[in-house]
Amino acid sequence: MMNNLLVLPMLLPIIVGVLLIFLRTYGRIQAWISLIAMALTASISGFLLQQVQMDGIIRLDFGGWEPPFGILFVADSFAVLLVLTSSIVTAICLSYALISTSKELQTMYFYPTVLFLIAGVNGSFLTGDLFNLFVCFEVMLLSSYVLLTLGNSKRQLREAIKYVSINIVSSWFFLVALAFLYGAVGTLNMAHLADRVAEVGQTPLLTTISIVFLVVFSLKAGLLLYFWLPGSYSSPPIVTSALFGALLTKVGIYALFRVFSLIFHHQPEITHTIIGIMAALTLIGGSLGAISFNDLRSIAAYNVVVAVGFILVGLAIATPAAIEGSIYYIIHDMVAKALLFLLIGTMITLSGTSKMAGMSGLMKNYPLLGWSFFIAMLSLAGIPPLSGFIGKVLISSAAIDNGSYVLLALSLLSSIFVLYSLLRVFKNCFWGETIVSKEEQLPLRRGVLIPCLVLVGLTILIGLGTESMSPYVSGAAETLVNPSIYIDAILGKIQ
């Protein structure tokens, strides 16, 4: 009975989303209903997290089909932590949309699409079946296609065609990998796959298949194959960018962690080395991108890329401490990236340009906005009391223990580049000569900073409350490091 709750983080957004389609003309009502739905989802996942912490992994077999025969949802701490964080972040982004976006956008099915997106995201986190993961990916991607084109500017249409095409090709690779994997091992249930791959040993054929999966998930996560990311993340309305930056790449990262820690972890000298090299190149490329643009949205988009590289450094090292650090960092990055995008969106609305050259001395006009940006910057750079710190420390110390000095150097250097890129924004846009006088400045729309302040509060809270989060995160890391826990929880009854 309890297990049935597991389907709600995916089902609730879908049901509410369908209902909202009928309320199309009422923008505000839609916003409030979807906010309530996300709050409910967040509290359900909070409850599930407690349950998982007490009783271990929970699973829900749809239609009573025992694994490995049916499709199932699996809740381990890692998945539920991500569901919880993404629900909270989505709720905050929705409240920003309620306050700041145009009525036109709000009545063009914006809220239902966001809910479908989050349904796909939560489904991807919770599913225990590789083909179901593909389906949830597609739910998420289709919603993201719609969100990317909503707003109808020429630039969006242009970027959307590229984004949709690249994702169709990556979905194709996903299907190819699934077909070969099914042909080779004869199952698609993740736990069963892990069991069988461990049984027959990870032969070169299976390693090759795992690399096709690596390509697929890297495309989604923006690991090395991030060429599509800056363009498509910087063209839609800022709320959409914030959602994309906070959630979409994280789903790819989640899939990489799941697949390469649960199923294909027997040949780390091949797979994890490749992941390490890709992460290193991502860090370099993202850092260079972040400092070489004058457009605020491009800078933010390249910051997403840097974070992806950093998180995957943890997977490449793959010691328990590194994995734990990555989990902290994923959670931190969801919050901090949403914050960064929302703040930049507010700055762009206030000054009417997304170029750094058009902004100066905003600190005089909007001090609260300025200091929020300052905190976001420190958090992303990993300064101690804030949320980015613990992840960076754990991954760095694991890199030292493991002797991965190149990755260590690159990840620390990338932090400096992140700090530099944002400091440049801070210095140019907030300090300097105030070009708009107090009388002429655009008024900050009432309440527009509340979502940002909530996120600032969250990043401080995560930083200070690391101690109380640690049982959950170390539980999540333990399941990832010892695949047998996961396998036993799913297949235990049969064996």
Binding site: F131, V135, E138, V146, R158, A160, S165, I168, L175, Y182
Partner: protein, 112 residues
């Protein structure tokens, strides 16, 4: 039989990749449609072709065919159908707004 289908998959993929690499948006979309057909055939042949009868309870057959790939393909077909429909509409809107269906001309600059 399987080898024949695999060769067919290869041919379809080649054609699709040729189309996807062209500059015309409609050709790219047709390419993605053929690409998905190729992978559907691949999944089908991975399950083995016509090894037994339909998987029904009560039939007195020695061997049953694997039904799972067919279920997978059905799902994949529905998804690729939806995506193709979406990208066709998107291409049409883009053509209306941008006045071109040439991907090279759509590159654009950031100054808009």
């Amino acid at each position: 039989m399987e080898s024949l289908i695999i060769v067919l998959v290869g041919v379809l993929t080649t054609v699709a990749i040729y189309l996807v690499l062209s500059k015309n948006v409609v050709r790219v979309i047709l390419g993605t449609a053929i690409l998905s057909h190729a992978v559907h055939l691949l999944i089908l042949s991975m399950g083995g072709l016509k090894l037994g009868t339909v998987p029904l309870l009560g039939e007195e057959a020695v061997k049953y065919v694997d039904a799972l790939p067919q279920a997978l393909i059905l799902t994949a077909i529905v998804i690729s159908f939806a995506v193709t429909a979406f990208i066709l509409v998107l291409a049409y809107r883009a053509y209306q707004e941008l006045g071109t269906d040439n991907l090279g001309a759509m590159r654009g600059s950031d100054d808009e």
